[in-house]
Symmetry: C3
Subunit: 315 residues, 3 copies
């Protein structure tokens, strides 16, 4: 089999396999992708299923970490990558071109597109215009579906199951796309309890809450008491600029930090997760605690993104 | 055959195959490149003729679209790419290094260089200093030869011939490098009529007009009347900042827009082209018209750039 | 052998092979790397020893030249590259993430990391946190070990030996990391004389001088007289902003320029080197002098970086 990129970009007639948000992920697909990821983690990808394929990564909002994760996945599947680290400045977007036009044109060069964009809903718009699969790498305060998938993968790997768990989602749940997407995916599994831990100003939006019919949902702003009975503490950032006044921010800032002391309150069997980057909301002293799963979690992104790219382009 | 990059950069003794502007493109070479592109479109490139070769793309003026087009072409020929999305800020240019020095040094790492630069003539200077082939990806308001080649390829594919055509070039012909390069290449074919459609302030420069001896050339600023009898309408952008006064600009802005209404005046057999990006000068409602060829045109860039890179590095 | 990237990132139990500064380079390792580079220059790398490996290049301070040199080396060894041209703006660093966290996460995606960072000591910190080899591509006014290795390679290739030489290091020796690293490596070989040529304000730091016990060291600020008896003149930049007053700068600016006239004072057998980029401190008229070795020197970076990457990832 030749290893060069020989074929023109595929023009499939069957529906394209976009992944723009949690709505594209029903339970069978979630389980298929988690199994695919586990297969890649166990065995690698000796056959190079995406040899001859080309992925375009378009980051209209820079993120070296997420971009590298997708690109490493593509290389480890045998493919090649067109990379735009800073698409907003470097592309015709700066001249006023529509996202739709950009998608149509990049569809002519690549077999799939990974898109990070600062506007909520931009990835869905892109998918409607593109002629190849579009995979979300995050859209503003909207969603981040591959992060949620790798979070599920991590929970299953660490705790053995994805149902009948008590998961605390903490921090800025209003603007945090990772917690929003994860809540939706967790609610697809039976018996889960979601404890939303946030200041009142930063509560999760009703657009998500209204869809969590499959899970029991509680809300609190008491970070310390919330630890009790958790299987997973999913910590995220709280950002100063989100508050009406500095005083308001200061009220929460010190409270929403995972310290060695707070870890005493978290059950022994639980794990601590974080989508990273962190900027103070987990004390580095906590890193040595075996329950600190966030670096293992980051690594899992590779396997999940291999599974997603393989699924999207397999035809 | 090993697929890794094994050889040191080639040091050819024969003249290097630069493509810095239309002057490098005589009729036999144009026809060779158009045929090469057609071959790649039909059959792909199973043999990976540039396997083991390394292309450097240096964009001193960012352009994700054009960069992706060249890089996709290189990957599909079996090669690899060194990519500088933002060479002006990211390179020693910011420290004051000469373009000549940069070219000499990159010649040590890559087998060919694709260069976009904001200064007219910079690509020619670069080619004189480099020790590997240099391909222009546009130099300021100068030329953009691979765009002109893909425009020719599109016209031939859509209309079946490149001679005895009436082509309207519309918009800012003074600063538009794509129209400048295309006019020169079209004049190499017999019997073509070029209708230059622009406000008086934005007429095509005499440096180009004086070389169009092989074609009949007319000029007008009446956009609507110009449609009559055209085989190709090649629309480009008009930029507000080019005019002496906002009033002047407003006089032309609304007029130089391709609307559904204007398309009624364009002959049925004609095609509408645009180098893209567009920012208002073609109404998206026109996209559905089968004569709207601009997205097909963009896709053709892949085949032409495969042909150009293969030609430049084939030895 | 499949050519795709099949294996998960290596988790070696033996000590990782970092190259963070001259302290990692004892004489046997220097000689091993110089021999490796010579082998790659002679024969290329037909076997693709790093096939299936992935290198991450993280430039927190942009440098197209150095990045291309490492990436070309990786491609020519058969590997693939994750590239961050502008890591400082494009990564979580902008959100306040620690370098240590970034290294842990990128360790999950790549088999080795090349790091350029504006802070002295940052590469050493990174190596302590990373789980894969970390190679310095320069740390502020600290060190630049692969540049020093390619300088050694150049001297040996041009002059036949690395001992009993008289080498003049000229320019801003206080902030010039290339001269600092080179001085340390040269002092490992017997019988070398180092003549430090700089304005008093820009003398080499005692942190380096105190370690140069294996060489005879002299200091001068008389550029012209220093030429006498040299085997190598290693010229570097003097930057205006380093001086207390413009007058001070002007006193030295004109003096520290290598002109055709100055070359008359340099011995016939000597070579002129420069880490490049240059911005006036070598007159381009000097380029035609066969003793001007700086472009040959830049090219040697490819072979040395192939040797360093191969050594770091060979297991």
């Amino acid at each position: 089999m030749p290893d060069t990129l020989t074929a023109p970009p595929a023009r499939t007639q069957v529906p394209r396999r976009h992944l723009t948000g949690p709505n594209d992920l029903d339970l069978p697909l979630i389980e298929q992708l988690l199994e695919g990821a586990a297969g890649f983690e166990r065995a690698g990808s000796a056959s190079g299923p995406l040899r001859g394929k080309l992925l375009a990564t378009l980051f209209y909002e820079p993120s070296t970490r997420t971009r590298f994760s997708f690109e490493a996945a593509m290389f480890r599947l045998g493919g090649q990558v067109l990379s735009a680290e800073n698409a907003a400045e470097a592309s015709s977007a700066a001249k006023g071109e529509s996202l739709e036009d950009a998608m149509r044109i990049v569809s002519g060069y690549a077999d799939a597109i990974v898109l990070r964009h600062p506007e909520v809903g931009a990835v869905e718009r892109a998918a409607r215009a593109a002629e190849v699969p579009v995979i979300s790498a995050g859209d503003g305060a909207g969603h981040h579906p591959t992060q949620a998938l790798l979070d599920l993968y991590t929970i299953k790997k660490e705790l053995g199951r994805l149902d009948h768990l008590r998961i605390g989602l903490a921090g800025d749940l209003r603007h945090g796309r990772t917690a929003r997407s994860l809540a939706l995916l967790l609610s697809r599994f039976p018996g889960n309890e979601l404890l939303m831990i946030s200041p009142p100003e930063l509560r999760m939006g009703t657009d998500v809450l209204d869809q969590l019919t499959g899970a029991r949902v509680d809300q609190t702003d008491d970070f310390r008491s919330a630890m009790e009975g958790l299987d997973v503490l999913y910590q995220t950032r709280i950002q100063a600029e989100r508050f009406a006044s500095p005083d308001e921010y200061e009220r929460y800032r010190g409270v929403y930090v995972v310290s060695v002391d707070l870890m005493h309150r978290l059950p022994e069997r639980a794990i601590l997760m974080h989508p990273l980057p962190r900027v103070g909301e987990i004390d580095p002293l906590v890193d040595a605690d075996p329950r600190a799963a966030y670096f293992r979690q980051a690594r899992n992104g590779l396997w999940i993104r291999m599974a997603v790219l393989d699924w999207a382009m397999e035809r």
